[in-house]
Amino acid sequence: MKRIITLTVQDRSGVLNRVTGLLQRRQFNITSISVGPTETEGVSKMTLVVDVEDDQRLEQVTKQLNKQIDVLKVSDITDKAIVARELALIKVTSGSQLRSEINGLIDPFRAIIVDVCKESITVQVTGKPEKVDALIDLLRPFGIKEIARTGLTAFLRGHQPQVNELVTYSLLK
């Protein structure tokens, strides 16, 4: 099962290596990882999407991450109300005659064209991984030259509904 785990870590050299090395050593698969600074200086946030077999393994991975000295906090936010986003850049083969068609196609995704040249255009899309996947599928017939994705980043919504309302918010189960 896929789980979204966020880590707040001290921004020290080697901390990314500690986290990824630990996951490799304990045989956990990383689907995506994204890292960046937070509102606090010297503190970074990582969002991991990991593939784990069961709850017991999930507990192990969070406990092992928690043991790292540079890791301040570990949260499995998969079942919480969260905002989760990913950004993708998609370079599509496209002569001038196809541009309006692509434009119409990406519009409902609120994606934008960020680069244009003679043979191709680059589309930027933001959203949940499923939405990004869906757009990529639609663009594939035009001929995709290159894709770059940031990996998921996520945090808790400002308001957490009661436990019995939570199911509908689950993203990756």
Partner: protein, 575 residues
């Protein structure tokens, strides 16, 4: 042997270089002895040691692996971090086995490695190795010092992390320009800054109550006592708790000595070569209380058959150990001592377990540890018993890994903690002899015996120089069967007797070898000579090496074969 060290921190002598500052910081941490080996990248530190030689001790080993095992032995006996100093590149990489060993067995070490100057890090400079990357997975934490002003904080944190919570090795990598850099002005004292490291010592009262309730209802309770009890120095409390409620106690390999072996409640060691009574107690119990053991596979055997009827309570300072291998109904994250004191205060009713205790006594009587005397030679088990006798069971014993280790664990019974040093988790050959050196440094007045195999001894025997040089009266008992005994045993039992590359047909003359290092040596191949010589050899005020020729065919029994459960031991009765 006296360790030459004074503890006062001489603030009047202002440090001149980063290395001088480092030495001052070590003295401030109470370090008496550095286990070290010099080299290019640590020359500034050795210069500072030269200047501080009346304030801090240093012991020069002959190989970095030997010295780090010695530091482990020192840490095991004192409970304080062993301090290791090695140079960059090969000096550091030679430490890797010892660091991993300390990580697996939770021994506190603070390891300092030299590094090339910051300006050339990453250029494949002479004797450069990426020690940070190499040691990240095998240390509790590691640092590379980037500024002299960070040094006080890093040293303080390193000692704090190594020795608190679940102990472990911490490495500090010291670029040469840091240690040789001049210090201008006053270096300020630093406070520990570790917001991500706060070990839990106090147990959750609800879980303690849950355990107390379960205990009162249990009919077949058993305690499993591991090395966590040693780290917490909680043997007394454990004994009091077991005796208060009449709960039988199984110890792990590393937990030997945490509970007196001669107590009627002691079932001995559990696991692959544990006693029948211990393993059946774990198998049949309805309440298993684990204090500070990590349910290692050599203890549990096949997890499907591990304590299948038991409610499991696990007290551990490391939350990641709880539920890792064995589903746990009562998880208690705490220091073993604090938890035991709470339990002593909050448990009133003892379990009604008379039948259970009677059954276990029967198991003990019917299936004791056994071996057969052979008129044609010396039995290794008998040898261990003879060593036990001559040392009144009070020696500090250290071992490598393998058959001799299991025989020592089975037949050198310990009534006190902090007497047993062995490489449990990593199972490191070449550990026992240097670890005994560290133990002798830690406990100069104690009798220290290294019970080692002939193969393992040859991996770190160069440290004979150290015991000669320092006149450390370590007694080395080589259990010499001319084989990698445990490998040979498995090949005989599990690989259809295909003895592949496990016999050592060519060996040095160990007596001459000892003598060439200036150490007294003796070869003994029969019981009479051993009985006659051993008292005198142990009375000798200096190191001794005894090459004991034992029967090659002897195997360690009983045995839980790989893949089998606790109740499926073989060789439980004389064959």
């Amino acid at each position: 042997m006296k360790v030459e060290a004074k503890l006062e921190f001489q603030t009047s002598t202002a440090p001149k270089t980063g290395a001088d500052l480092l030495i001052d910081l070590l003295i401030k941490e109470g370090v008496e002895t550095i286990f070290g080996y010099p080299g290019g990248a640590v020359l500034p530190i050795y210069d500072a040691i030269y200047r501080a030689k009346d304030r801090i001790g240093h012991i020069l080993f002959r190989h970095e692996q030997g010295m780090i095992h010695a530091a482990e032995g020192y840490a095991r006996i004192t409970g304080n971090p062993g301090v290791v100093l090695a140079t960059s590149g090969p000096g550091a990489t030679n430490l890797v086995t010892g660091i991993t060993d300390a990580m697996m067995d939770s021994l506190p070490l603070v390891v300092f490695t030299g590094q090339v100057a910051r300006s050339v890090i990453g250029t494949d400079a002479f004797q450069e190795a990426d020690v940070m990357a190499i040691t990240t997975p095998i240390t509790k934490h590691n640092y590379q010092v980037q500024s002299i002003s960070d040094l006080p904080r890093i040293v303080k944190e390193a000692f704090h992390i190594a020795s608190t919570g679940r102990p472990g090795p911490v490495l500090v990598d010291l670029p040469k320009d840091i240690t040789s850099g001049a210090i201008s002005g006053i270096v300020e004292e630093a406070a520990i800054d570790l917001p991500g490291y706060q070990p839990t010592f106090k147990p959750n009262p609800l879980q303690i109550k849950k355990l107390a309730d379960s205990l009162a209802k249990a009919q077949k309770p058993v305690i499993l006592s591991g090395a966590g009890v040693l780290h917490a120095k909680a043997s007394e409390e454990l004994t009091a708790f077991a005796e208060k409620h009449n709960i039988p106690v199984v110890t792990t390999l590393l937990g030997l000595g945490t509970f007196p072996a001669d107590s009627p409640l002691s079932l001995g060691m559990g696991g692959m070569h544990g006693t029948y009574a211990a393993n059946m107690a774990l198998y049949e119990s309805d309440l298993l209380i684990n204090f500070g053991a990590r349910f290692d596979d050599r203890l549990t055997g096949n997890l499907k058959h591990f304590a299948p009827f038991a409610k499991v309570a696990h007290i551990d300072i490391d939350p990641a150990e709880i539920g890792k291998n064995v589903p746990t109904q009562i998880p208690i994250v705490a220091d073993a001592k604090v938890a035991l004191v709470e339990l002593l205060n909050h448990t009133k009713n003892s379990p009604k377990a008379d039948e259970w205790l009677e059954k276990l006594v029967k198991y003990k009587q019917e299936f004791p540890l056994w071996y057969k005397h052979d008129p044609n030679g010396m039995c290794p088990q008998w040898l261990v018993e003879a060593v036990h006798k001559v040392t009144n069971g009070k020696a500090i014993v250290s071992t490598d890994v393998g058959q001799h280790q299991m025989w020592a664990a089975q037949f050198y019974t310990f009534n006190e903690p902090h007497r047993w040093i062995t490489s449990g988790g990593l199972g490191t050959m070449g550990f026992g002899f240097p670890a005994a050196i560290g133990a002798q440094i830690a406990a100069p007045e104690s009798t220290v015996v290294a019970i080692v195999g002939d193969a393992g001894f040859q991996m770190t025997l160069q440290e004979l120089s150290v015991i000669y040089e320092r006149n450390l009266p370590v007694k080395i008992i080589i259990v010499n069967n001319g084989a990698l005994g445990m490998v040979r045993q498995w090949q005989e039992l599990l690989y259809d007797n295909r003895i592949s590359e496990s016999l050592l047909n060519s060996q040095p003359d160990f007596v001459k070898l000892a003598e060439s290092y200036g150490i007294r040596g003796m070869k003994i191949d029969n019981q009479e000579d051993l009985i006659a010589s051993l008292p005198e050899l142990f009375a000798h005020n200096g190191p001794v090496l005894v090459d004991c020729r034992v029967l090659q065919q002897e195997k360690v029994f009983p045995m839980m074969p790989p893949g089998a459960g606790l109740h499926e031991m073989i060789g439980v009765k004389p064959i």
